[in-house]
């Protein structure tokens, strides 16, 4: 009987010690496949740097897709992954101290219900770190900048890049040479967006906002040193530069992933503000609309119609939303005709002023893309415009920089297609994986269902109810942290497919979206 008791007691202890065990532990199947992630180096622009909400900030940088990739690579032999130091950014404000145009990160000010740069003074300086990092994403860099000596030399400002100044190993080091100094065994390369995006985000205008920027596929200019910042890079130049970059990155046999360039039509910066932004209410009601039609839209419509452009302008509707009035650099100049037609009623001087203002004016159409910052300009008073015709987009045409016209959009699309063809073809010569970010972004336009079943969109933030489905940050061009997680996942899927590796994904649900502050 005593024995029986001992047996039972032993049984009891045996079961109590029983841990539930999986047949395969979670990480048992992870593998690097044919890739070697020992030293991973990322090359690219702002997207690679973890730029979001209009800047790189200390916290934002931790969500860069290369950093997210490196966390998964670390499971299968990936080594330390370093990024340029933003330890200076103690309060996580971003921006760069003392450099115009490099403002703090954007947040939603809930009390004002609008995006604003977060209050405070940036503590990020140009102090050189003189060090190569695994993340060689340089915000603002175009393809040829990766090969440009002096791009990180403070003496070359404003043509040098403040971000690269901070970490170039020597003042005249190139981005690519610094990247190669890490001896990568695996790389990602997502460069080329800015070769066309600078043109697109500036509405096809130069820095003055008015003068058309050049498309060097039209000019045939093959010397990037002479390009204006907002010009479109010649696609032959892009092909040569990209080939050079890939040849260099693969010189020691490294494997890697290249990413295609997203089409601008999938980015909220271009899709958020409608071309027909003028509701009858916004125009001040039926009486105002009648007055506008009698005094301005009617006469201009008559003149354009007389010269064979009946739909260049039409009378405003009192019942439906109306297109904004824009200045199209590619439109036929009718300033002389307008001046002539209006002189009898307005007098020569005023008619000439009207001719100058409306000579290249037209109403926007669905084929035009209005840029995001235009939202706060439309309907506002233009202090530089003559009194009476000084309402932006209503009685005064929106300047070139606010609109990517159909003609400009076509140039952007043609260049994007040419670049992407080069990227895919060059990757094929080295048997590299291609992450088709253009295709992914296009899926986002109609709603992308990710691995947790959640549906994300390419829409701009529009209230707290949409916060959870927004993948773009408040600058409208760059993803937010959650968006970078989705991007990292797409790259991981590409790597898993191409290199027969098995890497886990990130769960985008756990990544933050938009920063919302009660007040700013």
């Amino acid at each position: 009987m005593k024995n029986k008791f001992i047996i039972l007691a032993t049984l009891a202890i045996g079961f109590a010690g029983c841990e539930p065990e999986f047949e395969n532990e979670v990480n048992a199947a992870y593998s690097s496949g044919e890739a070697d992630f020992t030293t991973y180096v990322a090359v690219g622009n702002s997207l690679t740097a973890g730029y979001m909400d209009g800047t790189v900030s200390r916290v934002g940088q931790t969500y860069s897709y290369p950093n997210l990739l490196a966390q998964q690579f670390a499971l299968v032999g990936g080594g330390v992954f370093t990024q340029p130091s933003f330890a200076e950014d103690v309060n996580n404000l971003g921006g760069i101290s003392g450099i115009p145009g490099f403002g703090n990160r954007l947040v939603i000010d809930a009390s004002q219900n609008r995006p604003e740069p977060i209050a405070g003074a940036s503590t990020i300086t140009l102090t050189p770190q003189a060090k190569a990092y695994n993340n060689m994403g340089v915000p603002g860099a175009k393809s040829f900048h990766l090969l440009a000596a002096g791009y990180g030399n403070v003496a070359n400002l404003p043509n040098a890049n403040p971000y690269f100044i901070r970490h170039a190993s020597t003042p005249n080091a190139t981005v690519l040479a610094d990247a190669m100094s890490k001896s990568p065994t695996f790389f990602t390369n997502w460069i080329g967006s800015n070769d066309v995006l600078a043109y697109a985000t500036s509405g096809g205008a130069q820095a003055d906002g008015v003068t058309p920027a050049a498309d060097h596929n039209e000019t045939g200019n093959l010397n990037p040193a002479t390009y204006g910042f907002n010009d479109i890079t010649n696609s032959g130049v892009f092909n040569t530069v990209y080939t050079n970059i890939i040849n260099t990155l693969t010189v020691n046999g490294a494997k890697g992933v290249v990413c295609t360039i997203p089409s601008v039509t999938s980015i909220p910066y271009f899709t958020t503000v409608p071309y027909a932004a003028l509701s009858p209410t916004a125009l001040g009601g039926a009486a105002n609309i009648t007055a506008l039609n009698t005094q301005l839209y009617g006469p201009l419509d008559a003149i354009f119609t007389a010269y064979g452009e009946p739909n260049r302008m039409n009378p405003l509707s009192a019942t439906a939303a109306n297109p904004i009035l824009i200045n199209d650099a590619d439109a036929t100049d009718r300033s002389a005709q307008i001046t002539g037609a209006l002189t009898p009623t307005l007098g020569a001087a005023t008619a000439a002023a009207f001719g100058a203002v409306f000579g290249k004016a037209r109403q926007a159409t669905a084929a035009d893309l209005i840029v995001l910052p235009a939202s706060s300009v439309i309907g506002s008073t233009n202090s530089a415009a003559p009194a009476g015709i000084n309402k932006n987009g209503v009685t005064f045409p929106m300047a070139n920089k606010w609109v990517l016209t159909a003609t400009e959009k076509a140039k952007v699309a043609a260049a994007t297609t040419a670049y992407n063809n080069s990227i895919v073809a060059i990757a094929a010569t080295k048997n590299l994986a291609v992450a088709d970010m253009n295709a992914v972004m296009n899926q986002l336009v109609s709603g992308l269902q990710v691995d947790t079943n959640s549906i994300y969109t390419a829409n701009y933030f529009s209230g707290s109810g949409t916060e959870g489905q927004v993948l773009f940050s408040l600058d409208g061009v760059h993803p937010n942290a959650r968006g970078y997680a989705v991007i990292a996942n797409e790259i991981i899927k590409t790597i898993n497919a191409k290199y027969k590796s098995n890497l886990p994904l990130h769960n985008p649900t756990y990544f933050p979206g938009i920063s919302i502050l009660p007040t700013n």
């Binding site: 539930p20 065990e21 990480n27 959640s454 969109t457 959870g468």
Partner: protein, 418 residues
């Protein structure tokens, strides 16, 4: 005797039980050891639970059975898709007290106090599935005054009302979205309701087909635990959402499903007894856990969509000597949780139970019962696909992976009768 009883009562204060599926089949040491069969077994006062009709067939005038278990439930979670792991180890203490008294040859009265439902699962706060549950502690004490009538020598019926006292404490994060996070700690809500009262009934009948064969049938009614005026306490609410998530009260209904049992026992000899029970539980009553807040917050709808399930139980008893009786059992327990509704608050899939135990009869009046239960769960891949984030509208989010559980429960009790 008095002392033991008061000790048991002390444990009432901290009663909390394991569940997956939140039904805990541990209602008596002798019967648990026999695979938790008992609808057609007349062994002890435990029959007041298994089939009140059987009280009339007990030999002794007074029968008392008191027992309790340490229920050790462990669950592991992993997702190889997202490289997540989590673990939870929980301990519960289900107990039971049964007393029967033979008023005369035809009528017996009894009292049964037991804890057939409960759930105590605590994951790490802010773990990967925190938006579904951080921790839950659900307990319900059933008090069942019982009466049994014998009709002739071979047939009896019995039954009684069930009075339930329950409580629930449930904590989870509002959303997986870190936007609603206060310094990295997710905004969470604790729902707490105590003193929930409800009632139902238990009826059974027993038929002695022959000296060797007994048939039994038992029905326990559905009981809806209606939590009213429980507190909903929001913690770590960031300033931007402070206006929406204010502390309030809530109402919610949690069904304890009806259970029908039928079974047979076969007394092969003076030494051997075999029993088989079939349980059918109407879990389909549990469609959704809806939490209705008193303030402007929208009702939280959490689909459950449970299905009706069966359990098949086999038990045997061997009377080795006057002093020792040994028991063993085996059962197959279906889970009511369907594919796509696998929430980590009840991480339970189909299981197989192995039981054993013995009684040491100190004297003709007093016996000491020991039992153990081991529940084996196969590894299961499942997910909860119906989480609708209250803070946003990007569809329902899925949370899932591989779960593996095990349950072990040793128990001890005493039987007293004269």
């Amino acid at each position: 005797m008095r002392k033991l009883f008061s000790l048991s009562l002390l444990t009432l204060a901290s009663v909390s039980m394991f569940a997956g599926g939140y039904r805990v089949s541990i209602q008596g040491q002798k019967q648990l050891a026999m695979g938790h069969t008992g609808v057609a077994v007349v062994n002890s006062a435990e029959v007041a639970f298994f089939n009140p009709a059987g009280m009339s067939f007990l030999d002794k005038k007074f029968n008392l059975s008191v027992g309790g278990n340490a229920l050790i439930a462990k669950t592991r979670f992993q997702s190889s898709k997202f490289n997540q792991t989590a673990a939870t180890d929980n301990m519960g203490t289900p107990f039971s007290i049964y007393a029967t008294y033979k008023i005369n040859e035809w009528v017996s009265a009894g009292l049964a106090v037991y804890t057939p439902y409960g759930s105590s699962v605590a994951w790490d706060q802010d773990w990967a599935g925190a938006h579904l549950v951080n921790n839950i502690d659900l307990s319900a004490i059933f008090i069942q005054p019982t009466i049994s009538f014998r009709v002739g020598d071979v047939f009896s019926i019995g039954g009684g009302p069930i009075l339930v006292q329950g409580s629930v404490n449930f904590n989870r994060n509002l959303t997986p979205n870190p936007l609603l996070s206060n310094n990295g700690s997710g905004t969470d809500v604790t729902l707490d309701a105590k003193g929930i009262s409800a009632s139902g009934y238990n009826v059974g009948m027993m038929f002695k087909l022959s000296k060797k064969v007994t048939l039994g049938m038992d029905y326990r009614s559905e009981i809806i635990m209606q939590a009213r005026g429980g507190s909903a306490d929001f913690e770590d609410v960031p300033t931007i959402a402070a206006g929406s998530f204010t502390d309030t009260y809530f109402s919610a209904d949690l069904p304890l499903p009806a259970e029908f049992t039928t079974g047979i026992s076969y007394k092969a000899s003076d030494k051997w007894l075999f029993a088989f029970d079939y349980n059918y539980t109407k879990w389909s009553v549990y469609k959704s856990l809806d939490v209705d807040f008193d303030n402007a917050l929208p009702t939280s709808i959490n689909p459950r969509n449970y299905k009706d399930v069966s359990a098949y139980r086999f038990g045997a008893q061997y009377k080795a000597s006057d002093k020792f009786t040994v028991r063993g059992g085996y059962y197959i327990d279906e889970s009511p949780v369907q594919q796509g509704y696998f929430a980590p608050e009840t991480p339970r899939n189909d299981s197989v139970g192995y039981t054993g135990g013995f009684t040491y009869q100190v004297n003709s009046k007093l016996g000491i019962d020991m039992s153990f239960l081991y529940l084996h769960f196969d590894e299961v891949n499942n997910s909860y696909d119906h989480f609708d984030d209250p803070t946003t509208n990007n569809g329902t989010t899925s949370f899932g992976g591989t779960y593996k559980s095990s349950v072990f429960s040793p128990g001890i009790g005493i039987t007293y009768g004269f």
